[in-house]
């Protein structure tokens, strides 16, 4: 162990001497309080260290101890349902140590060391072991089977001891190799390196989120990456919460990076009470929270993103589909900027360091659909919130993020002001996954692509017409075009807008999504015909069925989609009746 001493303190960045044998990004314990830090620069025997905790009253001359290993996370059974800070300290344990306020210098075991897990071995003595070998399983929750897989750091060998089936704490030796290595159910992985896999795959399977505007208009694939940019109050966090609640991933890693404390509390209080529609279990049983709120130390905020994604990769390697919510990547970028400023580095755009795009690329590229070392299919989907200053998407973080994601859900201030949530703008958003996903959807519902195209078309036309209306008023338009405005209004109110408070509407299963669209588009089609045959528009817009279609999203339950077919019949009936009296009126 080499011991250094502090020679300079400048906020969360300190300089120490006597650490010549330390490695870059090694973990250090700084000062007499033993605060956790990380070496970020070496020059001669002088090291620059960023500290993850508050260092008030730290003095020059205090010792620095290098642990000679990079910052790593503990991976094993017990992660699910936990809430950690940015460097994987369990917050409930810290609460026991220092009360409601976080004191510096605390340490807590990330995984419960007392709890016994039921281990079922899948190896025999003499079997070969190596990266990708499954050596056993543990039932972590009722819906998550925790597969213990050797990671890429394990040298190929053979097992000389395999623990029999039984209940073990996490530190118990389960496997011994011929070289004498002992393996438990816990492994460690450095957070800044991506975990290994066999190969990346092209992803053709959607991550169904239950949010109509996403699933139909701007779908995301499992293993894809998306950005949710939006000014304050446009609903970034609400969108992320909604996806975390209802998307069809097996595991959710929610990273609260530099955001509000109450938002994390909201997840903590709300998720345990919500039931996952797929497993029938509480949502907390598939969720892991990383909470490094805006008032917690800024260096730990920088690393929290990596802690979260490493945990996500760990479950991916068991063959699960994991979704990572990073809220917000802008705060992470700001942490980079702050630390870069302390290091007196030459700034690039708006004070951000020049390596910002590289870091963003590295982060988003850790997502993807892969063949794991074991040969299974697993994925990490990354959904990152971006908080552009002033809601201006031309700022560096949004612009660089756009280069590395393929799905862009732009949140719109005007929609949010009208309380149209999710405020995902249909004009500025895009998804490059749409083409890849068409075959998947067509296999389920052959009309999907057609409905989608038609909807986008109407919205696009409406946008053009809205410009005209703004100049001359709607009365100047012919009925065909005013019908476009009417239908677009129905699409907005009856389809795109979705209430996360309405029990029925909060989650919309794909069959219902297409049904709602069919209803609206059937209405549109029939109305078009009616106008052609001379029915005036006000008569059409006065049809009571129109309001019924708009309300269908919250009156029709996901399970009863079949009943929706009756609504389509009703629409047809309404229009055929409309035709009859209209002609009658003319003759009279």
């Amino acid at each position: 162990m080499s011991d250094g001493t502090i020679i300079r303190i400048s906020g969360p960045v300190i300089y120490a001497r006597g650490l010549a044998d330390a490695g870059l990004y090694d973990v250090v314990k700084v000062g007499s309080a033993g605060l956790i830090g990380e070496i970020i620069k070496l020059k001669g025997d002088e090291a620059t260290i960023q500290i993850y905790e508050d260092n008030t009253l730290m003095r020059v001359g205090e010792p620095v101890e290098c642990l000679h290993r990079p910052l790593s996370v503990a991976l094993g059974p017990g992660l699910i349902g936990s809430i950690y800070d940015g460097i994987q300290r369990p917050l409930p344990v810290l609460k026991g140590l220092s009360g409601a306020f976080l004191a510096p210098g605390l340490a807590g075991e990330p995984l419960d060391t007392q709890k016994k897990w039921h281990f079922v071995p899948s190896l025999k003595v003499g079997d070969a072991i190596g990266p990708g070998t499954v050596f056993g399983t543990v039932k972590e929750t009722d819906s998550i089977q925790h597969r213990l897989v050797f990671d890429a750091s394990v040298p190929p060998s053979s097992a000389t001891y395999v623990a029999p089936e039984g209940d073990y704490p996490i530190a118990a030796p389960l496997i011994k190799s011929a070289e004498g290595h002992v393996y438990t159910s816990v492994s460690y992985w450095p957070v800044r390196s991506a975990r290994s896999f066999k190969e990346k795959q092209v992803t053709r399977e959607p991550l169904v989120t239950g949010l109509r505007v996403i699933d139909v208009l701007f779908p995301i694939a499992k293993g894809g990456s998306a950005a949710v940019p939006g000014g304050f109050g446009t609903g970034k966090t609400m969108t992320q919460h909604a996806i975390a609640k209802w998307c069809d991933a097996d595991i959710i890693v929610y990273i609260g990076c530099g955001e509000r404390g109450n938002e994390m509390t909201e997840v903590l209080t709300e998720f345990p009470t919500l039931i996952d529609p797929r497993t029938g279990r509480s949502l907390m049983e598939r969720t892991i929270l990383i909470a490094n709120t805006s008032n917690m130390p800024v260096a730990a905020r920088e690393v929290s993103i990596y802690t979260g994604i490493t945990i996500a990769e760990y479950y991916r390697d068991m063959g699960y589909h994991v979704a990572v919510m990073a809220d917000s990547t802008s705060r992470w970028a700001e942490a980079l900027r702050e630390l870069s400023g302390r290091l007196e580095e030459m700034p690039a755009e708006e004070g951000f360091p020049a390596y910002l795009p590289t870091r963003l690329a590295e982060f988003y590229e850790r997502g993807g659909m892969v063949t794991t070392l074991e040969g299974k299919k697993g994925s990490v989907t990354i959904i990152g919130a971006v908080s552009p200053p002033g809601g201006d998407f031309s700022e560096p973080v949004t612009q660089h993020t756009k280069r590395f994601i393929r799905c862009f859900w732009a949140l719109d201030r005007d929609l949010a002001n009208a309380r149209h949530y999710p405020a995902i703008s249909w004009n500025d958003s895009y998804s490059e996954y749409t083409e890849d996903l068409i075959p998947f959807w067509d296999a389920i519902d052959s009309t999907w692509d057609a409905l989608r195209t038609r909807t986008m078309d109407i919205l696009k036309k409406e946008r053009r017409l809205a410009d005209i209306v703004r100049l001359v008023g709607p009365d100047a338009l012919p009925d065909e075009q005013r019908l476009i405005l009417l239908t677009a209004e129905m699409i907005k109110n009856g389809f795109l807008q979705q209430s996360s408070f309405d029990k029925v509407d909060m989650y919309c299963a794909p069959p219902k999504q297409t049904l709602l669209l069919s209803c609206i588009l059937t209405f549109h089609e029939l109305a078009e015909n009616a106008i052609k045959s001379g029915t005036p528009l006000p008569k059409i817009s006065a049809l009571p069925i129109r309001e019924k279609i708009v309300r269908l999203k919250s009156s029709l339950e996901n399970e009863n989609v079949q009943e929706g077919q009756a609504v389509i019949q009703e629409i047809r009936a309404a229009f055929s009746q409309l035709g009859a009296p209209a002609q009658g009126a003319v003759s009279a």
Partner: protein, 498 residues
Amino acid sequence: MRGLEYHGISRADGPIIIAEHMENMGFSELVRVRDRTGEYRLGRVVDISEQAVAVQLFSENTGISIDDSWIEYLEKPLTFRVGDAIVGRIFNGLGEPIDGFPAIMSSDLRDINGRPINPSARIYPRDFIQTGISAIDGMNTLIRGQKLPIFSGNGLPHNRLAAQIVRQAKVLSGETQFAIVFAGMGIKYDVARFFIDSFEKSGVLSRVVMFLSLADSPSIERLVTPRTALTAAEYLAYEKNMHVLVVMTDMTNYCEALREVSAARNEVPSRKGYPGYLYSDLASLYERAGKIEGCEGSITQLPILSMPNDDISHPIPDLTGYITEGQIVLERDLSQRGIYPPIAGLPSLSRLMKDGIGEGMTRDDHRDLAAQLFSAYAYVRSVRDLAAIIGEEELSERDKIFLNFGERFEHEFLAQGEFENRSIEQTLDLGWKMLAILPESELVRIPPALIEKYLPRDPKTDNSSISQTSPAGAPVGEPPTATSTASSAVPAPAPKEQ
């Protein structure tokens, strides 16, 4: 070391002084500098190396000299002395009493920087606070433990609004002890006086802790003022189990002081010259609001900031909005049309509203009613834009109805008297009266059952009662008597059904 003074400094540059002597001081330690006249100033260690130490002074730097300065290191961060006796007192930004009464007798010293609340120890805020202001209660509900800033501009009535909230705020489910902490940063004496008078008139002055760093105090002191104030608030809330309402004004002055110090330290600036850590720094203040486990009390923050040039995308309101749980935005246009409070309908937002309203808390129709009002008012805005181009005459019948709705919504719902205290039922019923102007088929955000239950069916009979609350007439609200304003301490009657 305490009691030991070092003689001489090597550099004085704005609020930063550099000294070169070997004392083993700690980072962020409090420093006392004695100048040639024998006067003491406080400062904080901001950077230390083996050779030198940088100290940031909290006060005026005039007269600091290289040779005739003595530095003493006090071996503690800046602290505030807390105790029961702080309630009813007035302090300066550093926490020293300035009301002419003796110092606080207590040995309980608190680091003013506080410590971050463990997110898992927070309790999600849900208690509805009735402010008696329709635009807030109905549309942007304030919740106990929330941080809800007022985004204002110069010349807008933010102070009157804040005073009205302080005067009228009460919780429907009964009440325990409460206190008000007021932090004035860089404000003028008149503003401070206005608040003192207002507290006095409403009979709460004995429950107020004031921290004043007026416009003539050194700007650096403003950096400390909110922290001292929040330390007092945390003590009262989490140890004395009080419900504390913290009014901080003006956050813009705080941020200016931060920029000043940052520039003096030659830091790399980000937007508009503000330091890159402005977000983290503001968060370290705003995040000190909330409720924690095992404790009755709460801290509700009501920061006031004036948007430079009414620009909401300026870094100060922008970053504030990213941290706080919503914002109350005051609009110059409304104010110029004589509407008080000029709370802008659309950009205002309360993020905690969704969980603090509804059946059992306010009323079952609250959420849908608010959503419908927002949506209709948003449409009014687009109709007005259109009317500005093609003229009102050319509008369709539907749009004309909306235009009428917009006018009346602003004059009857948003507007109210400065001393008018509307109950939440009154506010919601008024909202329904507004919606009754619109055709029922436009109310798509409200479930039919609620429309059935609450929508007044005959708008004609309602007109008379609406005009009563119109601000055009004489002020309708009660005068600021003791009964109406001792307010927060009085248990409120249970919400009554109409």
